[in-house]
C-alpha cells in the first residue's frame, strides 16, 4: 500500500518527531474535544443558549441510555462511557475528511480502550463482590466446574479482542473501500461510501459503548 498523504504529518516533520499518525490525530481530537467542552461551559446559564443546548442533548441522551441499561448504580461510570463515546465518534468521523486518518483505524488505539474496559470490569467485580466474584465463573453446580471455568475464562479473554478488532475492522475496512473506489471511479462513487462511513461510525460507537455497559453491569450483578 502506498503511504497515504496526511496533513498533520507535516507537524511531525516540523517538530522532528517520529510518531505514527494515530498519535498525532489523537492529539488533534483531544484538543478539539477540550475546546468544545470549554466553549460550551463558559457561558452556562439556566436557559441554555444554542451550543449549550446541543451539548446537553448529547450528554443527557447518553445519560438516559446509561440509566436505562445499567440502572442507578451505573451512573458512577458515566465519565468513562461518555469519554469513550465522544472520543470514538469523533475519531471515526475524522477519517472521512480527505487527508486525515482515524486513530481508530489502527489496532493500537482500539486495543488500549478495550484493555481499559477489561480492567474496569474485573476491578468492579472484585471490589463489589470480593472473592465471591469467582463464583460467576463457576456455573450453577459444583461438578461442572472443570467445564465451565475454562470456557468462562476464554470468553472473558475474548472480549477485549472482539471489541478492538470489531472497531478496527469496520473503520479500516471503510478506509480501504474508499481508497479502492477512489482509484476506480473518483468523483462519483465516494459520496455514497462517505454517507455509509458516517453511518458506520455512529453505529460502531453505539455498539462499543453498549457492550462496555453490558460487561460492567454483568460484573456488578449478583451471581446465579
Amino acid at each position: 500500500m502506498e503511504h497515504p498523504i496526511l496533513f498533520l504529518d507535516y507537524i511531525n516533520e516540523v517538530l522532528g518527531l517520529k510518531h505514527n499518525p494515530q498519535v498525532t490525530y489523537t492529539w488533534l481530537i483531544m484538543i478539539f474535544l477540550a475546546l468544545i467542552a470549554y466553549i460550551s461551559i463558559r457561558k452556562a446559564s439556566i436557559v441554555p443558549n444554542p451550543v449549550q443546548n446541543v451539548i446537553e442533548l448529547i450528554i443527557l441522551g447518553l445519560g438516559n441510555l446509561i440509566k436505562d441499561t445499567m440502572g442507578e448504580k451505573g451512573m458512577a461510570f458515566m465519565p468513562l462511557l461518555v469519554a469513550e463515546a465522544l472520543f470514538i465518534f469523533t475519531a471515526n468521523l475524522v477519517g472521512v475528511i480527505p487527508g486525515f486518518s482515524s486513530p481508530t483505524a489502527n489496532l493500537n488505539t482500539n486495543a488500549a480502550m478495550a484493555v481499559v474496559v477489561f480492567i474496569t470490569t474485573h476491578y468492579v467485580g472484585v471490589k463489589m463482590h470480593g472473592f465471591k466474584y469467582i463464583k460467576q465463573f463457576l456455573g450453577p453446580v459444583w461438578w461442572l466446574i472443570p467445564l465451565m471455568l475454562p470456557i468462562e475464562i476464554i470468553s472473558h479473554l475474548s472480549r477485549p479482542l472482539s471489541l478492538s478488532v470489531r472497531l478496527f475492522g469496520n473503520i479500516q475496512g471503510e478506509d480501504l473501500v474508499l481508497l479502492i473506489l477512489l482509484f476506480l471511479v473518483p468523483y462519483l462513487m465516494p459520496l455514497p461510501i462517505m454517507f455509509l462511513m458516517i453511518l458506520t461510525s455512529a453505529l460502531q460507537t453505539f455498539v462499543f459503548v453498549l457492550l462496555t455497559m453490558l460487561y460492567i453491569s454483568g460484573a456488578m450483578e449478583e451471581a446465579h
Partner: protein, 126 residues
C-alpha cells in the same frame, strides 16, 4: 457544442484521468528485480490470493443469513406491536453489529494476508 456534451465529456475525462494517476509501485520493482516473481514462488501468490478471496466470500455467507433472520424477527415484532419501534430498532442494530463483527474477523484475515503477509520475510522481502 451543446452544454450537455461538454459536461459529459468533462465527466468522462475526469474518470479516465484517475487511471493515468497510477504510479509505479516501488515494491513491485523491487520484487521483479529480486526475482521474486520466479516460477517457483508463483504458487505462494496463488495461494495467498485464493485464501484472501475465499476468506471473505465464505465469511459473508453465514453473516448474510444471520442478519436476514435478525431483521425478519425485528420486522415481525414491529408489525405486531408498532409502538415499540424504537426499542426494537435499537436491539436490532446491536444484534446486526454483533453479527457483522464475524464477517469483519474474516476481512481482517484477508487484509493481513494481502497487506501484511507474515510469510514474506521467508522470501527475503519485507
Amino acid at each position: 457544442m451543446s452544454k450537455k456534451l461538454i459536461v459529459t465529456l468533462f465527466f468522462v475525462l475526469m474518470i479516465f484521468t484517475a487511471v493515468l494517476a497510477f504510479a509505479e509501485d516501488p515494491a513491485v520493482e523491487e520484487a521483479v528485480e529480486s526475482k521474486l516473481l520466479a516460477a517457483e514462488y508463483v504458487p505462494f501468490f496463488v495461494a495467498v490470493a485464493l485464501a484472501a478471496a475465499f476468506s471473505m466470500g465464505v465469511g459473508s455467507f453465514g453473516t448474510g443469513i444471520g442478519m436476514g433472520n435478525a431483521i425478519k424477527g425485528a420486522v415481525d415484532g414491529v408489525s405486531r406491536n408498532p409502538d415499540t419501534f424504537g426499542r426494537i430498532l435499537t436491539t436490532m442494530m446491536i444484534g446486526l453489529a454483533m453479527i457483522e463483527s464475524l464477517a469483519i474477523y474474516a476481512l481482517i484475515v484477508a487484509l493481513v494476508l494481502i497487506f501484511a503477509n507474515p510469510f514474506l520475510p521467508f522470501f527475503g522481502v519485507g
